[in-house]
């Protein structure tokens, strides 16, 4: 076992030596991969933050059911029963017009103005908590509730949040497309690097084959090279994203202070960071594997 590990670290050392045999080329390659990966990963982080902000703002969706002004206590009781028996509704709170007025006085500091009113302008209200939270079901429910007797208006509180979420969905799709394209680019970069390496290592490959090296033995350093290059590219992408977020956050603090709110961009979570590194290493390995499968058979001893 220890012997096997020693062999593999030896192969890894060979791969690293080859990578930095010409340091500038090696570093540039890693940088290209890092930048290519940081674009979709960075956008993903921004979207993730927007998503977080969205749930923080919208909370769980509610439908406010405003009753008409001439509704009587009987109507209220009737509606309460109807809402309680509705299969799509988890619960409903009743806010009487008097309560609503009291809340308004307390929360807005307009007590003087409200005190001057001759009569209470606010209607009785039910705040309905739906069971489902997807946009379509909510829309349907609010339309249905608006048709109930003595109901003036059914207002879906989080309508704007759903519009924003649709926008985010669009953004996620764009990130996915970008990520796929740049992943292909990463594979192509590795493919080409390995192809050049196979050309320069031609003699070694030929001699190794002649003195009994298996294909696996010959393939291994190239695969290690691809995976290592991908991994280092992933680390570069992580550093780019983390540094950019730090810069943005500095500016964002100044901005949000003006609006008297607090909001900061969260960096990549440990899980996402790990995924990024593993994914980039895998792509490098894949590019190397394709290249080796394509080019190694062309180096046959004669």
């Amino acid at each position: 076992m220890r012997h096997t590990i020693a062999q593999h670290t030896g192969v890894l050392r060979t791969a690293l030596r080859r990578m930095f045999a010409s340091p500038l080329a090696g570093i540039l390659n890693i940088l290209v991969i890092g930048i290519a990966l940081s674009l979709p990963a960075g956008l993903y982080v921004l979207l993730h933050n927007a998503q977080g902000l969205l749930t923080q703002l919208s909370g769980t969706p509610q439908i406010s059911l405003f009753m008409s002004m001439e509704a009587k206590t009987d109507d209220v009781e009737h509606l309460r029963k109807q809402l309680a028996g509705h299969p799509a509704i988890a619960g409903a709170e009743f806010v009487s017009r008097a309560q609503a007025l009291e809340q308004l006085k307390q929360s807005t500091g307009l007590a003087d103005v409200i005190g001057g009113l001759k009569q209470n302008p606010l209607p009785d209200t039910f705040i309905v908590h739906p069971k489902q939270s997807d946009a379509q079901a909510l829309n349907q429910l609010s339309i249905e509730l608006a048709k109930l007797p003595k109901v003036e208006l059914a207002q879906l509180d989080s309508a704007w949040a759903y519009k924003l979420e649709a926008l985010l969905k669009f953004g996620r799709l764009a990130v996915l497309i970008l990520a796929s394209l740049l992943s292909l680019a990463l594979i192509a970069i590795t493919f080409n690097t390995i192809r050049l390496q196979i050309l320069t290592q031609r003699d070694e490959i030929e001699v190794s084959k002649l003195i009994g090296a298996t294909d696996g033995f010959i393939r291994r350093p190239f695969l290690y090279f691809g995976a290592t290059q991908g991994l280092l590219g992933g680390i570069a992408a992580w550093l780019i994203i983390t540094a950019s977020l730090r810069l943005l956050n500095g500016q964002l603090t100044a901005l949000t202070q003006l609006y008297a709110s607090q909001f900061a961009l969260h960096p990549l979570s440990p899980g996402d960071s790990l995924s990024l590194l593993l994914f980039s290493a895998y792509l490098g390995w894949l590019g190397a594997w394709l290249s080796v499968a394509r080019h190694l058979s062309q180096v046959e001893p004669r």
Binding site: D203, V207, K209, I211, G212, T214, F217
Partner: protein
């Protein structure tokens, strides 16, 4: 150990390198392969190492049919062969020591053991003092000896040498032959191709002579018993002077 049975080899383009070649080499034998250049000596060695396949007939090495070998089994055949190439095939991106180390790394020897073996092989060919040099700084004869060290380092049962004394002057050639003889004495099977008849004198090995792809000397069967026969007697006169 090595057995050819009615082997034909035709290269793409129609050139017939070997025609109906049959012979046997027993374990522990030292055999010389002579003939003018283009007679098929290199082709014959390539067939043994599975670098080329015969068009018909069979090539057996250790009772394995080399021509029918799957590509996955080829490396293991070659590990039992030490091949000394005409053009050396040394790697100039690493030291003399690391050139000899390569076969051991390929076979998966552990670090300490392979270092010991590589130095022992270099010592045997008299290159231990040059272990840190780059092979490009070695003379032709030294490069040839390095190639031998690499071929013997994992102690193969069979040594194949393609024109090992090809570009060397007589003195170096004698040195190389002396090294081969010492391997023969410890029981290795050797097949050495050469167009240089002078090295055959007092070599003590059997001679197979090729001419235009055909074997001139009848050597199957009784040839094994005659392995200690004089090289001079067995070589055909046609083989001379044409190289």
């Amino acid at each position: 150990m090595i057995s050819f049975n009615q082997v034909h080899k035709r290269y793409p383009g129609g050139y017939e390198a070997l025609k109906n070649v049959s012979f046997d080499i027993a374990e522990g034998e030292m055999v010389f392969l002579t003939g003018h250049s283009g007679a098929g000596k290199s082709t014959l060695l390539k067939l043994i190492a599975a670098i080329e396949r015969p068009n018909s007939g069979s090539v057996l090495v250790n009772n394995q049919n080399v021509g029918a070998l799957k590509s996955g089994a080829r490396p293991y055949l070659r590990r039992n062969l030490g091949i000394i190439f005409q053009d050396h095939k040394l790697l100039f991106d690493r030291s003399v020591f690391h050139n000899v180390l390569l076969p051991l790394q390929i076979c998966g020897f552990d670090h300490r053991e392979s270092g010991k073996r590589a130095r022992a092989a270099l010592d045997k060919v008299g290159l231990l003092k040059r272990e840190k040099s780059n092979p490009i700084s070695l003379s032709g004869g030294e490069q040839q000896r390095l190639c031998i060290a690499r071929a013997i380092v994992n102690r193969p049962g069979i040594l194949l040498a393609d024109e090992p004394t090809g570009n060397l002057d007589a003195e170096y050639a004698q040195e190389i032959m002396a090294i081969f003889k010492s391997f023969h004495q410890v029981g290795a099977t050797l097949l050495i191709s050469t167009h240089d008849e002078s090295v055959l004198q007092d070599s003590g090995g059997r001679v197979l002579s090729l001419k235009h792809g055909e074997l001139q000397t009848a050597s199957t069967g009784s040839g094994q018993a005659a392995s200690t026969g004089s090289g001079q007697a067995a070589s055909s006169p046609e083989g001379r002077g044409q190289s």
